[in-house]
């Protein structure tokens, strides 16, 4: 980075968090879609997109997957978020016609726009086309809402929402349950309570 670029970099504000009219227009499918009603079938397994039309374009899905996998990458215990359907989960979420979901829809779509704007400001590319260090540099600036610099507040709110969505999608799957060593939801003939050795180690009777 030459001196001139560095000065530009230092002087430039982060990409603005300001999105006037891009979403929520009457033609927006999420605004006009209907919910599942007050008496849905509780026994069947639902497919994403079955109840209301999904939102994300191929390009947005790519970004959604990259960001979800930055938040929950594969490790020795379990695969990454995108490998277990988290992008589809988030797409269903932000396409749902309920107040909370419409709010998150705006936050997420604005966040995607901001990520690309911030990446372009920093290196002239979209977020998805950045290398790892470029991506993580942006995430580091926005990953902690209460400590984010003033100009990153809006983006940090987005990151917090997106991390919740990613975790929500991931830990509700069989893989997520296994990652946490959840061993319930099976019928037992009797319930014995915690093993005595464990209680003893915790100083409990």
């Amino acid at each position: 980075m030459d001196r001139r670029t560095t000065i530009q970099w230092m002087l430039a504000a982060s990409a603005a968090w300001s999105f006037p009219a891009a979403r929520g227009a009457p033609a927006d499918s999420a605004v006009s879609a209907r919910g599942y009603g007050t008496d849905p079938n509780l026994l069947m397994a639902y497919r994403r997109g079955e109840l209301w039309p999904l939102t994300l374009s191929a390009q947005q899905r790519r970004l959604a997957g990259i960001l979800a996998d930055i938040i929950i990458p594969a490790d020795a215990h379990s695969p990454s978020a995108s490998a277990v359907g988290v992008v589809e989960f988030i797409d269903e979420w932000i396409s749902a016609p309920y107040p909370m979901h419409l709010r998150d829809r705006n936050t997420v779509l604005d966040g995607f726009t901001w990520l690309d704007a911030e990446a372009a400001r920093q290196s002239g590319k979209g977020f998805s086309d950045l290398d790892d260090s470029g991506r993580l540099g942006i995430c580091d600036a926005i990953c902690n809402e209460s400590h984010a610099a003033a100009e990153y507040r809006g983006a940090a709110r987005f990151f917090a929402v997106y991390r919740d969505l990613t975790a929500g999608g991931f830990y509700t799957t069989p893989v997520g349950r296994m990652d946490l060593n959840y061993v319930g939801n099976v019928a037992l003939t009797h319930f014995d309570g915690p093993p005595p050795a464990l209680l003893k180690s915790l100083g409990l009777p």
Binding site: T38, E145, A167, R177, N181, P205
Partner: protein, 600 residues
Amino acid sequence: MPFVSARTQKSSYDVIVVGSGAAGGQSAYTLCMDGARVLMLEAGRKYDPALETPMFQTPDMAPLGSVGTPEKPFGFYDATVDGGWEVPGEPYVRASEQDAGRFEWWRARMLGGRTNHWGRISLRNGPYDFKPRSRDGLGFDWPISYEDLTPYYDKVELLIGVYGSNEGLENTPDSSPGCLLPPPKPLVSDLLVARRAKRLGIPVIPGHRAVLTQPLDFAQSPARLHPGNATAQKILAEDMRARSACIWATPCGRGCAIRANYQSTTVHLPPALASGNLDVRTDAMVYEVTVGRHGRASGVRFVDRKTGNHQHVTARVVILAASACESVRILLNSKSARFPNGLANSSGKVGRYLMDTVGSSLRGQIPLLESLPPLNEDAAGGDQMYVPWWLYRDQHAGKLGFARGYHIEFGGGRRMPGYGTGAGMEWLTGGSYGVKFKQDVRRYYGSFVDFDGRGEMIPNDQSFCEIDPSLKDKWGIPVLRFHWGWSEHERRQAAHMQKTFADLIGAMGGRTDGAPQLDGAKAIAPGGSIIHEVGGAIMGASPATSVTNPWCQTWDVKNLFLTDGAVFASNADKNPTLTIMALAWRAADHILERMRRKEL
């Protein structure tokens, strides 16, 4: 027998029961098992827990990870269908949208009503709870005492199956021998709360919930419940055998297909139907009690929600068990020349003295519970243990600044991960992401304990409902308008809860999620939101100041009874459902006796 339609329904019955939840279910059960011919009218649809309960479904099978939405407020898998804080086409009015004056009304338009999803917490009111005014000069005494209701608490516990223990604590009654099922084993977090609470002088004892920790005693209980009635004993014995014990899995709030907990649809209605004496009409929205000669109730009018047809059906006795507020609505809408202010309202007290439970919550994160080995902690589905109110002496001595007590429900454990399991953790993780985030979620999963205070509200003049002068529901039935206000007693009690929770969390070596809210006005949950609304047609010793007599019989109309929470003259911290059922059984016994004597 049967679920009836306009075509198959009989023209007249001994008793009409409006509503099919805890009150309607118990009323119909008691009446039918003793030979009365009953028509039950339920506003919601037919509902069959054996066929409809999502027992082992996981959140990934549901839309949106099964989180709550306005259409399924307690989550996709909650048993409630066609219900919630708002019911489409059936509005209600809040006189105030401010938090302090706000009232929320939960309704469930389905057979069995709210009993399908309730928390199953089944606590008896104690002796003090029936005579609060005598103790501290506030609110109203009931015209009955704990001893009047004791045999009925025993009967209800034997019938529905309640686990718990007898601890001999003040105003926290023991059950008669053989009434309670053994409590479930506590979780690690339960034992930690109990151990550390003891240091603070706070008692932690087994909870009481309507969950079968073992099969019911079908050999002995039927004879105890229906002495001298061989038919009833036989029906009940068969039905008790058909109920399974808990399988220690799947949340009770979804309902229970194997009938291991209490819901009206799995416990009260099957034997009542088997008796041959019960007809049930669903989608029948009652809006008026009609009055015949001599000012007696002649029957009810309802609208069939599917066809929109209006119908009138008659009976010797009418029981309203539609939930406190809905029963009040029916009374106030039953206007006639003889009863211009609504039925049974000569006192002007119909709609007055609505009460809910004081609620406040705080969550703690407990390092000792981090990174525990894999354990199945689904257990009995919650409230293995609880804290009964313990400061009777200080309170009576005026040391607390509020007049009535609260109990604490709490829960921790390695429950099935859900949408919130990894959410909102910045306060613990500093905003981690990546592999570190996955490690953090593993570390903190199962390390939280939630504390919920449930306290007594004293009835007051600002909390009531009335008919809105203009708004009607989609059937053209005038709707309720709610007014609400807390007193200093409730606000201070909520602040005291917060302080206690913080002390408990501190004693466990934990951190609170956010600072405890010591401003009571902000700590208290909005009126109605705990869904323990009672009152509105309170029982009392005098027709001038109450709506019913000690038998839940309206003073003004002798063959009209209210067996739901509307008759509560106070709302102890104890959850109301068990008391509703005990009162309903007692009232139904009284009706049977009076019918035998041809007085009704």
